[in-house]
């Protein structure tokens, strides 16, 4: 309040005016200023990203071995790119299509299918990109949530180095495309400026995540909690209102597409969105309880713990304190929702764990950061600054350092062999040999029933698309036609891996069981009249080629 009177008039209506500063130079300076202001964080996140990139990339086409689900999204994306349709079979709203639209954009722009060693590997490149983006976002989110450098770096280290994370984030799955979008949604929701624009960005990212895979919707309560924590009374109405509007309107594009195709409601002679939703929610066979040793759910859980039991253990230990501490509450809630869903039973897909990993890492990192610098834990708030003796503080932190070093040594010991295996073991070798065998020994005129992981490779090798048939489409898709009568007689070869055999309920001796014949009529009959001609790989990664002899 210095101006006492009106200053003399300092403008004229015709005089030259000072030229405005060049906005581009201003931008460069702003970016440079920001980087300088955050140089420790930038250096730290660069190193972490580099380490994460190396651990992820070295051996990523060899492990895991390609499998059916990966092949399906690969084939969808291939169909988008080459046929301009939403899938290599009739699109039936199993998932919203945005995930493989992104994949096809990647394979189209980078010419992926022509370059990668095999089709699924081209899609795995996108998973690598998603991983790098996720690492940066994970660190940024940790910092925005107030975890400190220690907590944020710990979260990233867990995410980048846990063998469980490395194994699953390499796989060409929609869940891995969801992760960066989901983290972006959380990152924007934690905007320190508390701006409406950030809320809109969060909603848009979250909508992309949900349209990539609908299961991301489970995280909505955790995201809204975070947004609520990070909005200000003065503009909260606008922030939350536009978050809701943006998210709803963008997601509405999916049912709108169905309406325009006249495929929203269940009807005779066409697929429909509502039927697909009903099937996903109510009719899909459950996987049983995770506590029942004979259940599929138990087996799936076991397959995760074989990779790494430390991450789940640490995360479960951190989840309760995580929920109590304010700054970790939202990410701990995100993790807790997934755990509750796991306990509830229902259908448990093999890659379900993917979406849990980043939030497990954040919860552990956040709790660690809190232990280093406590405060703001609601009812159990410790007035850290109020503790008078600096010696107590130093002692506490010394103990923490010792505990951390011990944890790194113990966990590192457990992770080292698993990481070495992921780096060097070519688990995909058998799958590759099987493909080579088919190309060498099966004429292109033959009808081959395949695991989807081979579909694109075979079609690209010159086998007509209607002769290469994904095994799950037999007896289901009316467009799939076989020359024989009954249809199984038209099949010449079957190319199925051990996982496919299990899901088809094939007996250990390779013969179809009663269930196989009851549930999968054509495949079952074909298997009954088939003889094994080649087998490659070991264990669950093995794949067998059978010739049908009518």
């Amino acid at each position: 309040m210095t101006a006492l009177e009106l200053a003399p008039l300092d403008i004229s209506l015709d005089g030259p005016r000072p030229a405005p500063p060049d906005p581009r130079r201003g931008l460069v300076r702003r970016v440079a200023g920001w980087l300088l202001g955050h140089k420790v964080d930038v250096a730290l996140v660069t190193v972490l990203t580099l380490v994460g990139a190396l651990v992820h990339a070295i051996g990523m086409t060899g492990s895991p071995a390609r499998f059916d689900d990966e092949g399906t999204y690969t084939a969808y994306a291939w169909a988008v790119q080459n046929w301009h349709t939403l899938g290599h079979y009739t699109y039936w709203y199993a998932h919203p299509p945005l995930g493989w639209l992104q994949i096809s954009a990647w394979t189209w722009v980078t010419d992926g299918f022509d370059r990668a060693p095999y089709a699924v590997a081209a899609v795995r490149e996108l998973m690598f990109v998603a991983k790098l983006v996720s690492i940066v976002l994970l660190y940024g989110l940790g910092r925005r949530l107030g975890f400190g450098r220690l907590g944020a770096a710990a979260a990233v280290a867990i995410f980048a180095l846990s063998p469980l994370a490395v194994y699953f984030t390499r796989a060409a799955l929609l869940d891995n495309i969801v992760t960066p979008w989901l983290l972006a949604a959380f990152f924007f929701a934690a905007s320190p400026r508390r701006s409406v624009a950030a809320a809109v960005a969060s909603a848009a990212s979250f909508a992309v995540a949900v349209l990539t895979k609908e299961t991301a919707l489970l995280y909505l309560p955790a995201l809204v909690l975070l947004l609520w924590q990070h909005t200000d009374r003065r503009n909260r109405r606008f922030t939350l209102g536009l978050f809701g509007a943006t998210f709803t309107v963008l997601c509405a594009g999916y049912p709108l597409y169905a309406v325009l195709k006249n495929e929203l409601l269940i009807g005779e002679g066409h697929v429909s969105l509502l039927w697909a939703v009903r099937w996903q929610l109510f009719e899909r066979t459950g996987s049983g309880s995770i506590f029942d040793p004979g259940s599929t759910a138990h087996a799936v859980l076991h397959s995760w713990l074989v990779q790494d039991s430390w991450l789940p253990k640490l995360a479960l230990a951190a989840v309760v304190p995580g929920l109590l501490i304010r700054r970790t509450r939202a990410v701990a809630a995100a993790f807790a929702i997934q755990v509750a869903q796991l306990l509830r039973g229902g259908y448990l897909p093999y890659p379900y764990v993917i979406a849990m990993i980043p939030f497990a890492a954040l919860t552990v990192g956040g709790v660690l950061g809190w232990l280093w610098h406590p405060g703001g834990a609601g009812w159990m708030a410790v007035r850290w600054a109020a503790i008078p003796w600096a010696a107590v503080r130093r002692g506490w932190r010394a103990c923490l350092v010792v505990a951390c070093v011990a944890a790194v040594v113990v966990v590192g010991q457990a992770w080292r062999p698993a990481l070495a295996d992921l780096r060097t073991n070519d688990r995909d070798a058998g799958k590759a040999q099987a493909l080579a065998w088919v190309r060498a020994n099966v004429p292109t005129s033959a009808y081959v029933v395949v695991d989807d992981a081979y579909w694109v490779d075979l079609v690209r090798a010159g086998y007509p698309a209607d002769h290469v048939i994904w095994f799950t489409k037999l007896d289901v898709d009316k467009d799939v036609k076989l020359p024989g009568s009954p249809p199984w007689k038209g099949i010449d070869y079957l190319l199925l891996d051990q996982q496919d055999d299990l899901s088809l309920h094939v007996q250990a001796d390779g013969k179809p069981s009663k269930d196989t014949l009851r549930l999968f009529l054509t495949v079952g009959e074909a298997l009954r009249h088939a003889r094994p001609v080649a087998r490659f790989g070991v264990g669950l990664d093995s794949v067998s080629i059978r010739q049908v002899v009518p």
Binding site: E5, G241, A245, K261
Partner: protein, 432 residues
């Protein structure tokens, strides 16, 4: 998506061209909708921005004010307005009432006011035909204050306003201060609610954005300018139907610093036009004024980025008219044209920001309700939502009308009449 590309190959050349043009229009509409939405809620973009909405805290007054009140057939409301202005808690206020030489009724009220209080001066406007900018220019030579302010004859001005404006000029070093104007009679009709909310978003938010970006169409009243600057600029443009907007553009070109402040208790209270017809006329006049400013081309002297903004803002009535014309066309195409699904999906895009705007309007009504301590009911929210499309059509109609009038060269001044609906019945009695 299914077969979109194949569908395109199968379509004839005319259809492809039609679809291309239609998509271009869609993108334009999308841009308009998004920018309108962003500017509409500019003041709430961050908590910090919300804090910048209001006037700074006043200190002791230092400046002197001349307030021009053009009055034409306003004998019903003028006395009350001027008496209120004289009740300002600011020590240096001069009020200039401009009356026409053909309007003895209003002139008599003005003369009586001048006799009652020495701070009132009556200025007679003998020009023909008469309009607001001419009246303002007549009064300008008589302004003795350092700051000149403009009020309309029906305005209800807060008594503490000038003290706040005084401080605002000195603290910010601004050349122009634009205060808030707020319609209050939101229950008069279905469109009154929307009209009221339009003012709220315009003065509480959007003008702040324009001031920040250095290109601002000023408001018609509660606007304060340095008298020296105003004299230098030669006053208002007498040939323009939106003299306030025109002056704002000219001062923007000169690089004037404009400060916008909106505090609910200091907003000048006004009334909506009494009828829907009146609203259409008022809106036609404003839109035509914008088109006149666009044609005058003063804005072309702005630096490039602002020039783009000027063109966009001033052409807005045209775009509104266009979108109005597009509504029946899109209904027609939905029935007649068998287009690929992807194309149809894209044409739905502008609907997204439009729906988001509706949400923001609902939130805005809640905010308006809170800031003015009103008793807005669920019914009002429903009216707001239900009135969205009809109101857009009314605006589009006014925009089309303005475009046609401007093309035909009709520049007549359709004045808005005032009945004092924003004041209580009792107060009106008191005036008589």
């Amino acid at each position: 998506m299914g077969g979109a590309a194949r569908g395109l190959q199968g379509a004839g050349v005319t259809q492809v061209m039609f679809m291309g043009g239609y998509l271009l229009l869609t993108v334009a509409l999308l841009l308009v909708a998004i920018t309108t939405l962003a500017w509409m809620m500019d003041s709430w973009r961050t908590p910090r921005a919300v804090g910048q909405m209001a006037f700074p805290e006043p200190d002791s007054p230092k400046l002197s004010f001349s307030l021009i009140v053009p009055a034409r057939h306003e004998e019903a409301v003028l006395a009350d307005t001027v008496r209120r202005l004289l009740r300002q808690d600011h020590p240096a206020v001069q009020v200039l009432v401009v009356v026409g030489d053909d309007d003895p009724g209003t002139a008599a009220v003005a003369e009586r006011l001048a006799r009652e209080d020495g701070r009132v001066t009556v200025v007679v406007d003998d020009s023909t035909p008469k309009n607001k900018p001419k009246a303002l220019n007549r009064a300008l030579p008589y302004c003795t204050g350092q700051i000149t302010g403009v009020f309309d004859a029906e305005d209800e001005v807060a008594p503490a306003l000038l003290r706040h404006v005084d401080t605002c000029f000195r603290v910010t070093g601004a050349h122009v201060v634009q205060g808030g104007v707020q319609l209050m009679n939101y229950r008069t009709g279905w469109w009154a609610l929307r009209n009221t909310l339009e003012y709220f978003f315009w003065f509480a938010s959007r003008l702040h954005f324009h001031a920040r970006s250095g290109f601002i169409p000023l408001g018609g009243n509660t606007v304060f300018l340095r008298t020296d600057l105003l004299t230098l600029a030669g006053g208002w443009d007498v040939n323009c139907l939106a003299e306030d907007c025109e002056l704002g553009i000219r001062l923007s070109v000169a690089g004037a610093r404009v400060e916008v402040a909106y505090s609910p208790e200091l907003a000048t209270r006004e009334e909506t036009p009494p009828t829907l017809r009146g609203l259409v006329r008022q809106r036609t006049r404003w839109n035509q004024g914008y088109l006149q400013v666009l044609r005058k081309g003063e804005w072309k002297k702005l630096p490039r980025a602002k020039r783009l903004m000027a063109r966009y803002l001033l052409a807005m009535p045209f775009m509104q008219a266009l979108s109005g014309a597009l509504v029946p066309l899109s209904v027609l195409t939905m029935v007649l044209l068998k287009a690929p699904v992807l194309f149809v999906l894209l044409t739905f895009l502008p609907l997204a920001p439009t729906l988001a705007t509706l949400v923001v309007e609902v939130v805005g009504l809640a905010e308006f309700n809170r800031m003015f301590a009103l008793e807005v009911r669920v019914r009002d929210y429903l009216k707001l939502v239900a009135g969205s499309v009809p109101y857009q059509l009314v605006l589009a109609f006014a925009a089309m009308r303005a475009s046609v009038r401007e093309l035909r060269g009709e520049h007549g001044w359709e004045k808005t009449e005032h009945v004092g609906a924003h004041r209580g019945e009792l107060e009106l009695e008191g005036v008589r």
